[in-house]
Symmetry: C2
Subunit: 422 residues, 2 copies
Amino acid sequence: MTVSDPHALMTELGRRAKAAAALLAQAPSAAKNQALKAQARAIRDQTQTIVAANRLDMEAGQAKQLKAALLDRLMLDSKRIEAMAKGLEEIAALPDPIGRTLAEWSRPNGLRIARIAVPLGVIGIIYESRPNVTADAGGLCLKAGNAAILRGGSESLFSSTAIMTALRQGLDEAGLPADALLMVPSSDRALVGEMLRLSDFIDVIVPRGGKSLIERVIAESRIPLFQHLEGICHTYVDKAADPAMARQVTLNAKMRRTGICGATETLLVDRAGAAVHLAPLVQDLLEAGCEVRGDPATQAIDRRVVAATDEDWTTEYLDAIIAVKTVDGVEGAIRHVNTHGSRHTDAIITEDAHAAERFLALVESAIVLHNASTQFADGAEFGMGAEIGIATGKLHARGPVGVEQLTTYKYVVRGTGQVRPG
Amino acid sequence: MTVSDPHALMTELGRRAKAAAALLAQAPSAAKNQALKAQARAIRDQTQTIVAANRLDMEAGQAKQLKAALLDRLMLDSKRIEAMAKGLEEIAALPDPIGRTLAEWSRPNGLRIARIAVPLGVIGIIYESRPNVTADAGGLCLKAGNAAILRGGSESLFSSTAIMTALRQGLDEAGLPADALLMVPSSDRALVGEMLRLSDFIDVIVPRGGKSLIERVIAESRIPLFQHLEGICHTYVDKAADPAMARQVTLNAKMRRTGICGATETLLVDRAGAAVHLAPLVQDLLEAGCEVRGDPATQAIDRRVVAATDEDWTTEYLDAIIAVKTVDGVEGAIRHVNTHGSRHTDAIITEDAHAAERFLALVESAIVLHNASTQFADGAEFGMGAEIGIATGKLHARGPVGVEQLTTYKYVVRGTGQVRPG
């Protein structure tokens, strides 16, 4: 389906979203929470309609012979719809991030200065087939006082439209502008291009999808992004690792879910501890059905280990495949991660506090963990309630950019061997 | 001067800066402060050399018939060089922003999570003729553990090179990598284009200069920016303003220095208070030598007031010119500022706490002030020690992007009529 004037269409959407955002920025917490709860109710009430719309998408997807994994992501049943509704209620229960005093100080001349949290404005979300993103992302944007323009995948257009109808109804019931949530009404790809240039109206773009989608967004967007291109996550097992913990955490980090961005893609093992750790780690993975691509030391463990190529050190498999390499201690691990990683999430397993601190300080990723699974790279697991995605970009500041604004942050996670269930 | 292979040259600079940044990120506070002090010493010791280099730039500038204002910005004497050295010592005295725990919490499963300040990495700075930016910006980057690649204006190439030599010597004396500060060694404009595409090596670009420079950077950069395009700053005098305060603050906001981004460009006067406020405000400005471009109500005050055109409401004069308009109360002021402003810095003068809170909450700018001069829009005046520029962009977060990361902040400044001296 093509649109006769993509520029005019997107500009009009931008204008409506921006006007709604100005109203939403002033909305009290109670109104936003009331809207989120009304959205949850509307989604529950319209379960049958949403399922019927989803069936149209599923039938079209089957006709187009989409892969089974894609069809599974696309599919909505009453259980998944209930999860969406519950997700909105959980967002309603979070504290309001707007209006918080982030810092406050006085000047010798009597000026009092405060740094106050305000909404970003309009968030553009470009996503692929998962229709539940419509509710999750829409809900998070609303809670933070932002309007959102959503562009879902063409495969899920009927499903997303049905969900969107319920969400907009919830806004309306709570007296908030329905235009705070807008959907790009056509799957015409020219509209994505227009959206990425809509910098007068959209403040941040969040691309959620495969690498090719994100590469396109990075190449074309004139708007700042919350994004990560890949999650080439590492687990490093130090010579001083507790062997049982190393096995438990590594298996979880790779195999709990192989398709998420926080899944470990490369296992690094301290050469000095390889005699202890390497064989059990590799055996666990092989037994769990994971393909192991290893360096010569790893290949010597088991005939099923295939030879890793250079490409394996920079590949995000998102599948039951792992690259395994022996490295020279924590310094070798840091070097490997900073050279081949994607600045996403990396973990060290060790009982040596000094080695742990080196790794946590020097690995340049947004999230670094000690004695815990990389699969914890997730907003809900961080206690943030939910997330709209993981960003590996660094910081943009606002107002005077002094020394403090020339910094960014990272999350340092200290564990005692936790693995993520389910 | 053109360079045979701009891409290779800039890639090599990027590689060196990135390697230096990795070392700098680990440098203890003491080493960074020692380097800043050694840089100050080196600049003082090399005053004669710097002055001589500056003379070459000045002579070339005079031959090119640069404007007097430009030549004044370019000129270095022993007093300005001492100010640069002192600036570096002041940066050394600031607290180290790196390693601070920005937030810290625990999860029910025992995970402890902290958000820690780390450097951005490599900062690219593109500036025009003011050679002192070399020391100011270089010092701020160093304090925050960042490497910097500086690209000064062709007019100041000799001056900047001489300053850079002293700064790199200071790094070396403190045992830090001299490559933490690199200068683009030629004025070939193709190098700027290459720099803006160096996203593998540069984390943030800071353009400092006129609107055309910043427009080019915005159009071409593939790297996040700390920037503002313009400072179309407003002072709004409410009907409930203290008349003496309104006069004092407005005159300072416009006339203290007209060439800085925080200078007020448009004065808004509450229609309901115009009988009290408008005449004295306009007379003060005219007497101070300011050209006044007004709406009909303002023109009625004095024959010297010229008629404002629509363009005046969106013009950053950076000169002794002001646009003056009467508006319908604080709501009219908010509407005007959000429609015509540049999201930089805007002030309300009033004794009415309710009107003040409306303005502070609803004006969308990075800095909003109550009863104080817009000329306070400055890192040093905020107590940040110094600034590398003012950013009007919104926030990029890192790690999981949850509700809290979908927000940005603004500075709310509460005053009692302060004006900025000097």
